[in-house]
Symmetry: C2
Subunit: 370 residues, 2 copies
């Protein structure tokens, strides 16, 4: 029982599953990749129970039924190391890999124990443009809370908020700041809002980065969402995170006491310099007065930094403090030459966004003044 396939084709397919495999698990089958052949098509499955990966490839010289599970990491390392153009994979109590003069025997796991990746494809479906989705994800992913413990699952996720007005918002927050990217999808192109875990999003981003599919189909069915990459012969099946994302719309400030326009790169470099001396404090004070911002940061061991920058200012003069890192990380994502920096008050959320572009924005909380 076995088949033959181009080494690089199989290698690339197994690598794409990287973020849908459990690395540290008490259940070894979740560290595996399931290989299953039907009608000369090899199906490749991995899952960590949250993210499911399914890709299929044409194979040659198929000989008998084939269904097994091997460890994904070792399988990928071996495929990456083979010098031969094609590889033969055979199953007889072990998996035998043969490529050129190289012969490997790998222990197998029971394919019956591998979790079934099932999905009811009759659910609601919409199509989104690959490049737009990629860009939206890039704008918000860095604000996801990194802590994946059960209590913070709602922030260890990206919120896909389909809004009745015909917009899709991707929203992330680590509770100190929030990132939002928005696109109009049309009122007829809506799903129910859902949460995808950071791990699921990383797998989605990996697939998007090499996908040939221009229009990605997204199908929703109960607590599952399927992303169909038709031209890649690939599907991702996500179990959504059952938790409640904060009411982010209530957090977005609507009125401002001070509105600033400034050059993005100039401000970015200032925040980098403030970061150096602020050390672990992550604190920079801004004195905003009559079109001039004086930034100040210090820590006893490292030293002091002071810098001024001319800006366009509307509204009140104010002294306000921020984390220079949060400021910098938002500015790094802003692509326009100038940006808007809109202040609601010393202890109210501030908006940072590209000038004359409403497709993404960042909200950061000021720091309590020392």
């Amino acid at each position: 029982m076995g088949f033959q396939i181009n080494t690089k084709v199989l290698r690339d397919a197994v690598e794409l599953a990287n973020n849908a495999v459990s690395r540290k698990t008490t259940n070894p089958i979740l560290s595996g990749v399931k290989l299953y052949i039907e009608d000369n098509v090899l199906h490749i499955y991995t899952t960590d129970l949250q993210t499911g990966f399914h890709k299929w490839l044409k194979v040659e010289d198929v000989d008998g039924p084939f269904s097994t599970v091997v460890e994904q990491k070792v399988f990928l390392e071996i495929l990456s190391s083979l010098s031969s153009e094609t590889v033969r994979v055979d199953l007889d109590g072990v998996v035998r890999l043969t490529g050129g003069n190289s012969n490997f025997k790998l222990p197998i796991m029971d394919p019956e124990e591998f979790p079934a990746l099932t999905f009811d494809v009759s659910g609601n479906a919409i199509f989104l443009d690959k490049n737009i989705v990629s860009k939206m994800i890039d704008k918000v992913l860095f604000c996801v809370l990194k802590d994946s413990s059960p209590l913070s699952r709602n922030l260890n996720s990206v919120y896909w908020d389909f809004r009745r007005s015909g917009f899709l918002n991707l929203v992330t927050s680590d509770s100190f700041r929030l990132a939002l990217s928005e696109i109009e999808v049309g009122e007829e192109n809506l799903l129910s809002p859902f949460l995808l875990s950071l791990r699921s999003m990383e797998e989605l981003r990996l697939i998007l980065s090499s996908s040939k599919t221009e229009k990605i189909e997204i199908i929703q069915s109960g607590s599952q969402v399927l992303f169909n990459f038709e031209d890649d012969d690939l599907q991702l099946i996500f179990n959504t995170v059952e938790a409640e994302f904060p009411d982010y719309l209530a957090i977005i400030p609507q009125s401002f006491i001070t509105k600033i326009k400034a050059r993005t790169s100039d401000f970015l470099y200032i925040m980098k310099r403030m970061s150096i001396v602020s050390g672990k404090e992550e604190y920079t004070l801004m004195n905003i007065k009559d079109g001039l911002i004086v930034c100040y940061a210090s820590s006893p061991d490292i030293g002091e930094a002071k810098e001024e920058i001319k800006v366009e200012q509307e509204g009140e003069n104010i002294e306000i403090a921020y984390s220079p890192r949060f400021f910098r990380e938002a500015l790094e994502k802003i692509e326009t030459v100038e940006f808007e920096f809109n202040i609601s008050g010393e202890e109210l959320p501030t908006i940072l966004k590209p000038l004359e572009d409403n497709s993404y924005m960042y909200i950061i909380m000021p720091k309590r003044k020392a």
Copy 2:
């Protein structure tokens, strides 16, 4: 009291000192960079007591005497972050850095506490070609023992063995393997053999990688060695390691029971594949018989690998075991299309070396057969 200088010139100079600074030290002055001006020349010093760095630069607009010490890491970070082409450095109880609209104040340390970097330049001197020294170091540095504890200082070093026959050998060993590179320097161009610590060698390699000096002067004086990079206005002053390097010449086997010639890259890839399945065991068995080598490795969790390769063989058939990693790391440094693989016995050192090139070689101990 201060001076002005091109930001990038100062930044690059301070960065070159990176491996001659103590990062973890109970003596804070060793984490510092000393800045000292005499006759419109800025002298930059760092030392970790083993490796001393000294570079000098022309400066402008010098105003009064200048001698101080600031933390090297912070100083470098700030210089790297400045947007302005020139920077002004002033001293008045703190160091003030001014570049464009950026102003920094850095705490200072007492320059009198900074260890003096003195060297008696009247010692023996020789000149070595920069590119040759760089290449010799590259061939041996990976075999240095990484453990820097007092008992293993002699192997946490590179042995510069000047031999009366007019050769310089650079030799390293982690006690399981040995690397040697050799060059003829002439009988009139000899110093006494010395040991330089891995940290010292890393600083030397950093300087060599960007040096403009073609002929490097090496001066020896007692337990110190000075490397003079004349065209870079830079000197490294090393305290040699006071320890005894093993009698490596006695280890180099002179007679062989089996001599193999094989293609370097083919063998390298085989060793990579053996590494995957051998896991932490780092064990591969070779059955060498009538011009064919069959390699075999396995571990219970990961699987088995078996591979054969045709070679040119002289001498006995033998079954012998090696660490596939040691084998691979040596082959990665061998630049010839074919290599020599010379076996003295199952429990005696094996030589790996480029074919028809005696300028470098690797000695690895076989493993006891399982």
